[in-house]
Subunit: 332 residues, 2 copies
């Protein structure tokens, strides 16, 4: 069994208090004593138990992060940004994916018992579960999810991005725009839709809504398959890249030319979007994660008591699906 603080104390002929002090505040121990303790500690390969320490300090020194999935680049990047900052702040990171888990609320509640605070990405758990955790004293930061009363949040500025995107699309000459996605699926999509709708109205164009149930590639393909039955719009503004990519493939199969016959856009700037030449909107994913980590830390340490809502800027990334391809150079 590994050496404990009592083993070290006994061997060094001191009390456990002195060993503890030697480990955490060497300056408070006489040099001579300290060296004796340190010698014994290193001989016994003593490393303080985190469990004992955490119990005594009544803190976990760990943060959690809940996400639906990591398959897409979106959440993976957020997690990375989060982990980097949490690491700097001396906190471990616990992860929990709710994909394919039917008891997400319970799983998250269990995780809340193992960390000092956590970040919830998207619509992974119920509002009730979130407020229950906060009520119990676990700080929570919401990301990519509508903010709840008194709870910190971090979001990308969907509205701004959507407005910029809409202007760009209309600048191609489009007057008949279709928004592909379900605004009811969450605030992100709702805001994107609202931003596009506002600009389209301002500039006197027409906006239709093409609802989907799932927002994945298959949805895009399926939509393209049913295209013949409706008149083709000038622009297909998709709520995310996956659908746009699915659409692109299916449109090409059907001989519809992009961007000549129809302009297509996505949202997220996944890696594949670059190769497909897909015009899209980029969110500062890593920065979102990092910001969430900072907000959470401020909350846990008590450095801040007022509620904070951070909104980070988005970037329009114009590519071939909204303008005639440049000499085949992959836009960065």
């Amino acid at each position: 069994m590994r050496a404990t603080i009592r083993d070290v104390a006994r061997e060094a002929g001191v009390s456990i208090a002195t060993v503890s002090r030697t480990m955490r505040d060497p300056g408070s121990v006489r040099v001579e004593t300290r060296e004796r303790v340190e010698a014994v500690a290193s001989r016994l390969e003593y490393v303080p138990s985190q469990l004992g320490r955490q119990l005594a300090e009544r803190r976990h020194a760990a943060n959690g992060i809940v996400f639906p999935d990591l398959s897409g680049p979106y959440f993976a990047e957020v997690v990375l940004g989060y982990e980097a900052v949490a690491g700097e702040l001396g906190r471990s990171v616990l992860i929990l994916s709710t994909a394919g888990r039917d008891d997400a609320d319970r799983a998250v509640a269990a995780m809340a018992e193992r960390c000092d605070g956590l970040v919830v990405l998207g619509q992974t758990i119920s509002d009730a579960a979130v407020t229950a955790m906060v009520r119990r004293g676990t700080p929570v930061v919401l990301v990519a999810r509508p903010s709840l009363d008194g709870i910190d949040s971090v979001r990308a500025h969907n509205l701004d991005g959507a407005r910029a995107l809409a202007h760009h699309v209309l600048d191609t000459g489009a007057t008949d725009v279709a928004f592909v996605g379900d605004p009811g699926s969450g605030p992100d999509v709702a805001e994107r839709h609202a931003g596009v709708a506002a600009v389209v109205a301002e500039r006197g164009a027409r906006l239709r809504l093409w609802p989907v149930t799932e927002m994945d590639e298959a949805a895009g393909e399926h939509l393209a398959a049913g295209l013949g039955t409706r008149d083709l719009p000038d622009a297909l503004v998709c709520a995310n890249d996956e659908m746009a990519l699915g659409l692109l493939g299916a449109l090409a199969e059907r001989g519809v030319r992009v961007p000549d016959d129809v302009v297509v856009t996505g949202w997220d700037d996944v890696m594949a979007a670059r190769y497909a030449g897909l015009t899209t909107v980029r969110q500062p994913m890593r920065e979102i994660g990092a910001t969430a980590a900072r907000l959470l830390d401020e909350r846990i340490s008590g450095a801040r008591v007022e509620v904070a809502h951070e909104v980070l800027p988005t970037t329009l990334v114009p590519r071939d699906t909204t303008s005639s391809p440049t000499p085949r150079k992959v836009a960065r």
Copy 2:
């Protein structure tokens, strides 16, 4: 402050031992007593402290996973597979990314103090750090990394995949093959190179090695830029998809036709590979993570003492970059 076991015991007029038993083995407590304790517990919203429990049980009920990065799809998928199984086994998952961290060894050692065992992906930390942890009693499973003496590991069958890939490439008629990548960068690439080399030799073709320092898109682009100076081979077998994708873009710019002038392959089957029509080799990433979680659990629980080395099969995914494009259908 939250209720503790002693609060519940006092209110219910029983000892803390009885409360503890009520929580973890209700059957061992008389119905009447149990109901009284449960009533008090729910009234006080008592939830046992994980810290106290963990200290008493001397286990963390958490596993760690160390990875270099999550940007690519590779590690993200492994992490997902790992998390899913660990969750089923009732263990939390701690993550640690070594990207942009100069003290990876120390960070991992610190994490090892907070979990019952961990998985190390790739060349994230030194062999010395790994063996040190194992010596201290922390079970470790290595993934995508050469196995160390007495330490469990999980790998994909690079050799098989490389052989299949090489046969496929030679079947296109190629006789002059270039392998793009640095076999010295790790066992994965070394095995891929070895597999290709073996088949090329068997079938009497020629194999060159095009070394690179970084294995990213920029490397591929840079390589293509320098192409004029060397004679173009029949096939460019890249050690990963990123380089292959970078190459594809740069080749197209230079007017080199793929697959007519040169055949190109990657490795990993990232999402973008599908859109680029890139022939590649798929590894069962989620399954690798899941397998690692199971091996680790067996080790932690002591269910297995002998060392295990799992090798999972790979799949060749032929696409347009090795054969004339089919009618523009995205291959799954």
